[in-house]
């Protein structure tokens, strides 16, 4: 079992009457790439700032390497931060920026020179040492910010949307570079983003947050395939969501009554009469002219959207909701306005417990 390097235990943060982080518990393992993912304003930055020490938790415990850090100032904590706006010191050269942490620690000049040179080479900025931050592009500033943090050999590196300000191409490139750096150095990364694709491609584990609540923690695959909450199912990738009540349970199969009609899903631990949600990805949806067994979901084809390799079909359901259906090939027998019945293989859908909140 791997040990955790950062532990959050029932951490809460309140700004005035505004509860921004609620009862958050999270174990971050040594050497992993953990991403905090969630919509804007859900408390990602606040969580990161509590780990760094810029904000005090209103209640709860934060440990770094098993040691409680509530009473430690940021400069006493063995973590470093890459800020969203880089926050490079404008009056210092790239060299002095990167050397800052070592200079503060009074490391001998020779060693500083050696390590800064090494670090700049690592982030592919050799030869830029005399530039001022103003004379750098966004991507270069980004790399200086990363070098400035990494040179201190932190136990944990906190990154707050470090690629947010970059254009798509540079962002993709930096994602690969960052991931490469993280693997090479074996440093724990706690990475904040609201870009789910970025989270899915880079992370070992993703912690999905919504409105201050930690909804689910898991590998990208777990999060994508087995969302545990309605929010996660809707937030990660495209998904069709149903809210309903369990009508009957037969072994693994659960029949659910929803406003769009009857459907069947597959799972355990659900009782008849219980409210629940069902999530099904557009690519797993199937349609036919006749209702399938265990399903009564009548609808009408609304329109088609061609997306390069995919054809997306929108379906109007009886209750006015819309379902998304996607295939690589367009079925030429289908026409807009055609009445259809929706179904799927029950094991392709994900049953989700109705959460307390």
């Amino acid at each position: 079992m791997s040990e955790s390097i950062v532990s959050l235990i029932d951490v809460e943060k309140r700004f005035g009457s505004n509860l921004v982080v609620r009862k958050m518990s999270l174990e971050i393992q040594r050497g992993e790439f953990l991403t905090l993912l969630g919509p804007s304003g859900c408390g990602k930055t606040t969580t990161l700032r509590m780990i760094a020490g810029f904000e005090d938790a209103t209640s709860g415990i934060i440990k770094v390497q098993g040691e409680q850090v509530e009473d430690k100032e940021p400069y006493q904590r063995d973590v470093n931060t890459v800020f969203q706006n880089y926050s490079l010191f404008p009056h210092m050269t790239v060299y002095d920026n990167v050397a800052y942490g070592l200079t503060i620690k009074k490391v001998p000049k020779e060693e500083i020179r050696r390590r800064v040179t090494e670090m700049l080479a690592l982030v592919q900025l050799a030869g830029y040492d005399k530039r001022k931050p103003d004379a750098l592009s966004g991507g270069q500033k980004q790399r200086v910010a990363i070098a400035r943090a990494l040179i201190n050999n932190p136990k944990v590196l906190l990154l707050d949307e470090p690629l947010g300000a970059l254009d798509l191409k540079l962002r993709k490139q930096m994602q690969i570079e960052l991931k490469r750096l993280q693997k090479k150095l074996g440093i724990t990364f706690v990475y904040v983003t609201h870009d789910q694709e970025e989270a899915l491609t880079m992370s070992d584990r993703i912690a999905v947050m919504n409105a201050g609540i930690l909804e689910q923690v898991g590998t990208p695959m777990e999060i994508y395939q087995y969302p545990k909450t309605r929010f996660v199912a809707g937030f990660i990738g495209e998904s069709n969501l149903f809210d309903g009540t369990v009508k009957a349970v037969e072994g693994n199969l659960i029949q659910v009554e929803t406003s769009a009609g009857l459907l069947t899903t597959c799972g355990q631990g659900f009782q008849p009469g219980e409210e629940m949600h069902v999530s099904i990805r557009p690519e797993h949806l199937e349609i036919s002219r006749e209702p399938a067994e265990g399903f009564a979901l009548p609808g009408k084809i609304k329109d088609f959207t061609y997306m390069g390799t995919m054809v997306k079909t929108a379906l109007d359901m009886a209750d006015g909701s819309e379902l998304k259906f996607s295939r690589f090939e367009h079925d030429s027998r289908l026409r807009e306005g055609d009445p259809v019945y929706v179904f799927w293989r029950p094991e392709k859908s994900v049953p989700i417990k109705k959460s307390a909140t």
């Binding site: 400069y75 470093n80 931060t81 926050s87 404008p90 009056h91 800052y100 503060i104 201190n152």
Partner: protein
């Protein structure tokens, strides 16, 4: 490519027109009310004094010779000292105060700024004279000191150098606080956080980040405090009761009661030179700052 080029050239064109339009009246004003009087002062300083205190328009270096006289030299160096001391103390008091204000939310900050501006809306002669009342031997300050037992007999405050300096400081403090405030306020909090994150204690952060990044404000404060404190004579006049003489008092006296205009003019020229030198240094620094900080 070519499109961008034409854009920038029209941009420059657009900027040039109003510049000319506004520079015209301003330069007329400057020539009429600043340059001409200044040239006149310089001119007078090279003339001689008549027997009855009139200006005799014959060339002479007499006034400048007099300046080298040790009494004047003493007054000048004493004025420089006082101005320097005022500047240093204004910075030392003003910086923490400006820092405190700048870290407050904007509404509170503007209230606090207002607070330090209030004295400026009262007449300065009235303000200074009320100081005399406060600090005189039978005044409330002495009463308080004796009541607390800090002294058993009244302390002479009025007409001392110390009180004049104190007066200068209170007079000049806002000129230090305002530019300091505006440069500290621009300082991004995330830079201070970054410094702390990288292991710097608050003291190290102040020396390595806050101070260098607020240099422009410090320079402006120095200029704005030092130059007026060098020339101002009302403070030393009233709080010094004519016993504390600074260059400003001497100039005033030469143009006034003593009626030696050429000497007064020569002293003014000296002030101009000192001021000009400072402004020259300032603009040099400002340029470096522009390159390094902005």
């Amino acid at each position: 490519m070519s499109k961008r080029k034409s854009d920038s050239s029209t941009g420059r064109h657009r900027r040039r027109l109003p510049a000319l339009a506004t520079a015209g009246p301003v330069s007329v004003w400057m020539i009429l009310f600043v340059t001409l009087p200044m040239l006149f002062i310089i001119y007078i300083s090279f003339m001689s004094r008549g027997v009855f205190g009139d200006v005799v328009y014959t060339f002479s270096l007499n006034s400048y010779h007099t300046l080298l006289d040790s009494t004047y030299f003493k007054v000048i160096s004493k004025s420089l000292e006082a101005a320097l001391l005022t500047t240093v103390l204004c910075l030392a008091l003003g910086y923490p105060f400006a820092y405190y204000i700048a870290r407050k939310p904007p509404e509170t900050a503007s209230k606090l700024i207002m607070l330090i501006m209030i004295p400026f809306w009262t007449n300065s002669l009235m303000r200074l004279n009320s100081w005399l009342l406060l600090f005189q031997t039978s005044g409330p300050v002495n009463a308080f000191l004796q009541w607390t037992g800090i002294t058993d007999h009244p302390v002479t405050f009025i007409y001392t150098d110390a009180l004049v300096i104190l007066g200068l400081i209170t007079n000049m403090l806002p000129f230090a606080v305002l530019p300091l405030y505006s440069s500290i306020e621009k300082l991004e909090n995330s830079l201070l956080e970054a410094s702390s994150d990288l292991g710097a204690t608050p003291g190290q952060t102040f020396l390595r980040v806050t101070l260098p990044l607020t240099f422009p404000g410090i320079f402006s404060a120095i200029i704005l405090v030092f130059i007026p404190s060098l020339g101002i004579y009302t403070v030393s006049d009233i709080l010094g009761g004519g016993k504390v003489l600074y260059i400003g008092n001497i100039i005033r006296n030469q143009f006034g009661s003593i009626r030696n205009w050429p000497l007064g003019a020569a002293l003014s020229v000296l002030l101009l030179v000192i001021t000009g030198l400072l402004i020259f240094i300032y603009t040099r620094f400002a340029k470096i700052e522009d390159m390094e900080v902005v």
